[in-house]
Amino acid sequence: MGKQSVVNRVMNKLSRLHDNVFCALSGSAADAQAVADIVDYQLDLHSIDMGGLPLVKAAANMVKDISYKYKEEMVAHLIVAGWDKSKGGQVYGTLGGMLTRQPFAVGGSGSTYIYGYVDSAYKKNMTKDDCHKFVSNALSLAMNRDGSSGGVIYMVTITDKGTEEKVILGNELPQFFDD
């Protein structure tokens, strides 16, 4: 087993696919970055062809196509989320090359520790602040338990008004029982 070390403790795992669509990366950094770059490019062309902002479903579909085609060679899971005029805010999972629309999605090595929390804490039609709390709590709990997760939290909020990026530093993280 090779030496393991943290090579980047502030990696931004939220990649912009378009102004109104972002994706969250997990798995192999190289594979995930490569897929996100390819879809960024394809979506750019697509939105020019269509003359406007792309549908979130279109972006997720492109990610899904690559993930499915190279399923055997790649180890990456991208969660695609954004806002568009037809269906409003959407979240799509693309695990294993399957496209599923979900109210919320979690992924990565730390996600196993927070399934219980997200299932119990999620409520339909939460306000923006409630959602921020939900996300930062969930991530904070996962970061506490998972050895491969940690550092800071990057959060992107996408609405009809635009996109907002936020960073929650280590000392501002929500605190839970930690002995």
């Binding site: 090779g2 030496k3 070390s5 090579v7 980047n8 502030v10 990696m11 192999s28 950094a29 190289a30 594979d31 995930a32 970055q33 490569a34 770059d37 060679e73």
Partner: protein, 342 residues
Amino acid sequence: MYLGDDHLEAPRGKGDCPEDDGLSCRPEHLEIDFRMMAADEDTVANPCILGRRSSAFCSLHLQARRTDLVFRREGEAARHRQHTRRNAMLEEEMSSLGFKAPKARKTGTTIAGLIYKDGVILGADTRATDDMVVADKNCMKIHYISPNIYCCGAGVAADAEITTQMMSSNLQLHALSTGRLPRVVTVNRMLKQMLFRYQGHIGASLIVGGVDVTGPHLYSIYPHGSTDKLPYVTMGSGSASAIAVFEDRYKPNMELEEAKKLARDAITAGIMCDLGSGSNVDLCIITKDKVDILRPFDQPGQRGRKHGQYRYKPGTSAILTESVTPLEIELVEEVIQRMDTE
């Protein structure tokens, strides 16, 4: 032939050979032409391996006493850059003769980069090792990419070398096509797309730093093609020691002297605490106006002065008895061969 995938075990090759176009078929191990042909000896196999290097063709002449394996490949090097077929065939032939294929040179390295007030500083150690022997005490690990961008290379020596040279060439063409000074983000994009395409088989771990119209930038690039954009990075087997120094003392917008000292200390930590790194500290300081290559910047690897006298004075051991036996040597045969010294 490099099979490892641990990018922290960073190899570095023996020196920067300017004529090395990467197409040499002569394995580095076999610098000497060991022709072991003894006319009278009845040995099973006396292979003689002779390699010649040329950019136009690559030919390898293998000759065994009992079995004659002569094969020549001409013109192939010009047609395809991959030696995978040749390597596979070589391994087969050589193992049948009882020879092991030479391993790709795998050595230790400490490389680091940081962004300071006016630009970027790249640092590297200068040791190249061959297993546990130092092959080159002063090799250059900081490579030129473009006048405003330089790159430190760790990983498989040949891969890092060739990759940076290819990037330099492609970047120059790109700059001619765009009519603009090249940008660091471009090198990053080109490198990551190439390394991802080769799925990690090109074992090059690189730190790319430079100053372009948008400011100073620093990227670290891993063999599988993932990249990180950070204000300070380290790579190589000594990276853990070096990053510790950075994490302790790095501040944004440092002055030049403070930044140079920090880079020197980080590389020195690698030199002292990692067996694979050593010798001198090289620094490369890139600002928007100029590039300074300080080679060597510092030499922490000086041999320490001995504090005691370890030689015993003659007479320390008492001689109890002495007996001298002259050896009779008989001259059997004398052969004189004249050298043509005209």
